[in-house]
């Protein structure tokens, strides 16, 4: 009983904080603000879902810190040069999936630590971005694309719809499909997975590639959300995505990395930041608060015997 309560302490705390925000600023509980939170949280939730897949399979992935920015910069640049979105979208998704493939090969076959590997690929992607954009912001002027991403359907932001669809697909995959079982088996007990004949190198690589695909999707959406590719936009997601995943381990499947937990975790993060802004807390407190949140989440998670990842 006590354990169950501890598991949902994050949700409970969120509720209390939300009520406090609502008292501080009544605007906090409005449909508009709800939509804003979804708009801001959509991309974070997509990245975090990608990261969760890799962590479910017993590895860690930081490459999104670089690939998101790289994909964004290339996307804005290609649009400017006149390539149609029908070309840029698939090409860049393939590129980011390839980064995942690279991570997978290096960790599963060359047997490097995923921690070091993905930090390296993050910087490689970042370096490529810098070489391409020279650190300048490249604005997007394609009004049609912008309006699609910024639009609403049934009064709910399209970005929110996209995030929901991604969530449903990958939740079903990780929780109910054979591939998902394999990911979780590998993360849960590698030796058991090997004993029953699962090709763990292959499935780890697949996990990295799925993650890479999602980072790519995030990389495409991010510049459309803010009307342009701002330099190194991936870095801003490093900490929040990691925090979302660990917040997620306190919910739904306590003690395990899980997609629904991550999804809710991402929106809790954004809601907290949004509430703080509405309450007049300066923006530069954000990383500090996120860092504290990460520690709190990890403390709760480690109490639930998460020992899947060794740093």
């Amino acid at each position: 009983m006590l354990r169950k309560m501890a598991a949902y302490s994050i949700l409970l705390a969120t509720l209390i904080i939300a009520i406090m925000f609502a008292i501080a600023n009544p605007k906090f509980v409005s449909w508009e603000n709800f939509c804003t939170i979804f708009k801001h949280g959509a991309i974070l939730s997509i990245i975090s879902i990608g990261l969760t897949i890799v962590m479910t399979a017993g590895e860690i992935d930081f490459s999104y810190g670089g690939t998101i920015g790289l994909v964004g910069a290339l996307f804005a640049g290609m649009l400017k040069k006149g390539y149609p979105p029908g070309v840029t979208f698939p090409v860049l998704l393939i590129l980011s999936t390839f980064f995942g493939f690279l991570n997978g090969i290096l960790t599963s076959y060359v047997k490097l630590l995923s921690f070091m590997t993905t930090v390296a690929t993050m910087f490689i992607a970042m370096g490529l971005e810098r070489a391409y954009s020279s650190g300048l912001t490249c604005w997007i002027t394609n009004e049609k694309l912008l309006s699609i991403v910024r639009g609403n359907i049934l009064g709910f932001p399209n970005l929110g719809w996209i995030a929901l669809i991604v969530f449903l697909i990958f939740f079903a995959m990780v929780q109910f499909s054979r591939v998902g079982y394999y990911f979780r088996a590998i993360g849960g007990n590698k030796k058991a997975a090997i004993e029953v004949g699962i090709n763990i190198s292959r499935y780890k690589t697949i996990a990295f590639m799925l993650a890479g695909f999602l980072y790519g999707l995030a990389g495409l959406l991010e510049p459309l959300r803010v009307s342009g590719a701002i330099a190194y936009s991936g870095q801003n997601y490093l900490l929040p995505a990691l925090t979302s995943v660990f917040l997620g381990t306190t919910m739904f499947f306590p003690g395990q990395y899980n997609i629904p937990g991550t999804f809710v975790g991402a929106f809790i993060m954004v809601m907290l930041m949004n509430g703080l802004t509405l309450s007049g807390v300066p923006f530069y407190f954000t990383p500090l608060l996120q860092g504290i949140l990460l520690v709190v989440a990890v403390v709760i998670a480690s109490d639930r015997r998460i020992k899947q990842i060794k740093f």
Binding site: A172, M173, F176, S177, R178, Y181, R184, A185, G188, N189, K191, A192, A193, E195, V196, G197, I198, F253, G255, Q256, R305
Partner: protein, 502 residues
């Protein structure tokens, strides 16, 4: 008895760098028989089993299963052909349900989704075959260790095995569960399944096995029908010629002061051992002997306060020991079983490894006085005959024997009073072994006390002054002097063939 041969190994040779694990081993298995496989530590049992499951490939020799040559087969194919195994170390995914764990290797899915209902049905069926009542929906992490063995058994049964290998399945089981397992095994046998059963427990072997094969130093030294052989014969085969070797020369009687014990263990119980009491007096080397899985390592860890104790107390000269830190402070030195994991700091130098626990003696104002440290290291290297080009050499480049000497040497010149050794000479060559024995004896003669834990009984006879024999978590026999100790008798006790009431 059906006598159709289903598995045939001919002249199998397997070498690892530095050791010949299997030498010309022939082994055959009839349909529907339970074949016990016994042997001392490192006799080659695990290697043999791994070759049968195709986890390892033989260097030479032939292996046929159901008339099929397995030379090119891999683990997956062996599973498909019907070779199932319950390994000694049970590997399951903790947060998966029992059903998911059992069928993980052969998940069937429909429209990309794994069929949960089907999963539950199949798993329950397999569980029923194991004879143990376990809810297939339960998570594995909620199960007891003994129930987990049954889950692993159900998983092995999911491949429809014609050959089932069990590697010490009862090591973590209680009496009732063991009984259920034996019932299940005889049912499987009746259905024509052949079983290879690895165990150190003679009573179990006599209860269920039809034949027994003894491996010693990688060779098959005995295969016999269980009804035609006595426990004494089996023990003799396991030990081999070593019997004569051990005939201990009358040792100098140590000056043991029996009045003030250095180490007192009182009614210590843990998860894997029960109600252990003994005392160590200055001047003596006490052997703690027993087969792998008897609970020795767990007991030692509990003594130094590293493993959970259920009850009981440990004292060093009247000081109560609760944690490894207190243990070392009070004067316990530890030579652990797995030196790679627990003993040495691989990337540190020989010198740093020597002074690891005593570094406080070499510092002033928080800084280490390297010249003094170095001098001390030279002394240790000389005294313990450690073969190293220099104290600055990284320890990982030393041979196993020399690494072990470093570990032993580090405790000398500290205030150590009690040395606890767990399989201290494992994987060492004869020369290095003898050097270690000598250090240990010398240390005791100078007023220390040694608890020497080993599964190598002849070795214990060579080193120790008295013996505690452990079987299944209990001390089943004490030898206060080794004069009338008989090697075969000790082995019988250690394998539960005598006085082994649980």
């Amino acid at each position: 008895m059906a006598s159709q041969t289903i598995l045939e190994l001919k002249n199998i040779v397997k070498a690892f760098p530095g050791v010949k694990a299997l030498n010309n081993v022939c082994f055959s298995l009839f349909q529907g028989e339970v074949h016990a496989l016994v042997g001392a530590n490192g006799a080659g049992k695990t290697t043999l089993v791994r070759i049968i499951t195709r986890e390892l490939k033989e260097d030479e020799g032939k292996i046929y299963f159901l008339g099929k040559n397995l030379k090119k087969a891999d683990v997956k194919e062996a599973r498909k052909l019907g070779i199932g195994i319950v390994e000694q170390e049970i590997n399951l995914v903790p947060f998966f349900s029992v059903a998911e764990n059992i069928l993980l290797g052969g998940l069937s899915s429909k429209l990309l989704f794994v069929e949960k209902k089907d999963l539950l049905k199949k798993a329950s069926e397999l569980l029923r075959k194991t004879g143990k009542d376990i809810d297939a929906r339960k998570k594995v992490e909620e199960l007891s260790p003994s129930e987990q063995v049954y889950v692993a058994l159900a998983r092995a049964l999911s491949v429809n095995p014609k050959l089932l290998i069990l590697d010490e399945p009862t090591a973590r089981m209680g009496l009732v569960d063991t009984e259920i397992l034996f019932q299940t095994l005889s049912n499987l046998k009746r259905q024509g399944v052949s079983i290879i059963y690895i165990s150190h427990r003679l009573e179990e072997i006599y209860k269920i096995a039809d034949r027994v094969t003894v491996l010693r130093n990688g060779e098959n030294v005995l295969t016999a029908s269980i009804s035609e052989i006595t426990p004494g014969d089996i023990v003799k085969a396991i030990l081999g010629r070593k019997q004569e070797e051990h005939l201990v020369k009358k040792q100098e009687v140590p000056a043991v002061g029996k009045t003030h014990p250095l180490l007192t263990v009182r009614n210590l119980s843990g998860e894997r051992f029960k109600d252990v009491s003994f005392q160590l007096y200055p001047g003596e080397v006490v052997g703690l002997v027993g087969m792998v899985g008897a609970g020795k390592t767990e007991l030692l860890n509990a003594i130094i306060g590293r493993e959970k104790r259920l009850s009981g107390e440990v004292f060093i000269e009247g000081r109560k020991i609760m944690s490894p830190y207190q243990a070392v402070k009070a004067g316990i030195g530890i030579v652990p079983e797995d030196r790679k994991v627990e003993g040495i700091v691989e990337n540190a130098s020989v010198c740093e490894n020597i002074t690891l626990p005593t570094i406080e003696n070499f510092q002033r104002f928080g800084l280490i006085k390297f010249t003094r440290e170095r001098k001390h290291c030279f002394k240790a290297i000389e005294r313990f005959n450690i073969q190293t080009p220099s104290p600055r050499q990284k320890i990982k480049f030393l041979s196993g024997g020399n690494q072990q000497k470093v570990i032993v040497s580090r405790w000398f010149l500290s205030n150590m009073k009690v040395l606890i050794c767990d399989e201290a000479s494992q994987g060492m060559d004869v020369g290095a072994k003898f050097e270690i024995y000598n250090f240990i004896k010398q240390f005791a003669r100078n007023g220390g006390a040694v608890l020497y834990s080993t599964s190598d009984i002849p070795e214990a006879l060579r080193v120790c002054d008295r013996l505690l024999v452990m079987y299944n978590g209990r001390i089943v026999k004490r030898y206060d002097s080794l004069e009338e100790a008989d090697l075969n008798e000790i082995m019988l006790y250690a394998m539960g063939g005598k006085g082994g009431n649980r």
